[in-house]
Subunit: 224 residues, 2 copies
């Protein structure tokens, strides 16, 4: 059986290729956002994210600091939750949760005739209103967040707004980004149609790796 390359080597080489292609395309990333943008490209093989990811000022730093203080990440899908690095969370005494499968959330959704995605955000607003909210799937979850922001019942440490899709997705991301901007709430959004649970998890992991001091291969010197 052949020798298999180790994941750390693959990641280092991948990040090197990403740097080279960004450079060929004359794309310069803002240093404070580079770790997030590079990890999203690493996760999707899609350089469009270098153009579509939008950040409120210092959003990455706010997210990192919040995780260093052991904050909770709330996701809108169990899939995004599954993609978030558990060793990194543990190293920071941080946690990640998804309330989509919570029986109480299902009951509320049924009673109110709404979606579980919406009900799960409303529930999270009660139990952890200062969490990092990472939405990779449901635009309805983002619109629910907007409502909760307007009602002043939610004050997230960071909103990660990256649902994917064709209906209400573009609009919901623009709306939540504006709502965050108006309230000085840090926000990272993938404008346009693209995004997804893997993108949500990749952004969380970029923040976690920065918070734990796990070096981005880009910082290891092979770039210069």
């Amino acid at each position: 059986m052949r020798q298999h390359t180790l994941p750390a080597d693959i990641e280092r080489t991948s990040m090197q290729i990403i740097s080279e292609e960004l450079s060929q395309q004359k794309i310069e990333l803002a240093p404070e956002n580079a770790a997030v943008v590079r990890r999203v490209i690493h996760t999707t093989a899609d350089f469009e994210y270098a153009h579509t990811l939008r950040f409120t000022q210092n959003a990455v730093q706010y997210g990192v600091d919040s995780l260093k203080r052991g904050n909770t990440i709330v996701t809108d899908t169990n899939m995004a939750l599954a993609g978030i690095s558990k060793p990194s969370l543990a190293a920071l005494d941080a946690t990640a949760q998804c309330f989509m499968a919570d029986p109480q959330v299902a009951a509320t959704a049924k009673r109110q005739g709404t979606t579980r995605a919406v009900a799960s955000m409303q529930y999270a607003a009660q139990v952890c209103p200062n969490a990092i909210f990472a939405v990779g799937n449901a635009p309805t979850a983002l619109l629910a967040l907007c409502d909760l922001l307007e009602q002043n019942v939610l004050r997230p440490a960071l909103v990660i707004a990256v649902p994917v899709g064709f209906v209400n997705v573009v609009e919901s991301k623009e709306k939540v980004f504006s709502a965050c901007l108006a309230r000085n709430i840090p926000c990272i959004a993938a404008m346009g149609r693209k995004g997804g649970s893997t993108v949500a998890a990749a952004i969380c992991n970029a923040l976690l790796y920065t918070a734990t001091g796990r070096l981005d291969p880009a910082a290891r010197g092979w770039q210069g």
Copy 2:
């Protein structure tokens, strides 16, 4: 609080938009593969998959038939596993499993100095050599599958080869597609760099929805 559109309506409208844009782009999908291609585009908002998804003859039908007989889907990540429709699996008495977090797999990987992705495929080859193998993350898992095919210890009902990335990814997908073709093993692959756990789950779900008779919105008449 505003009224939120229900997921089924969003999906129907999304599929309608996908059909319209495929038509505008003069892309005609082979009818036997259309449900899979459309669901991948629905999951990624990326029309490139209309060109990059490749199918061996009747691969979709083989996958559907296999699930109707209650086969197991083996994934290379817990994230892909999390994205597969559990109600659809239950309706067919089918199952989905990921062995990445299995203690025995971790021990084998450590002993052999290989990755857990490779060890998990080797383990799966022992416990369910006729499963559907869905690889959305690790090219090393695909190369391990190629080895196991060559050793004749594996006879999958279907291989779903859709890892994403920059190193060994393009080559591993081409290699496994050829290996399957040579052995008359059904294969669905996303050629090129793109893919991922969401794509793997989307393909599995397209097969599951077809197998359970859950109508693709495209079949509901709004298209004609």
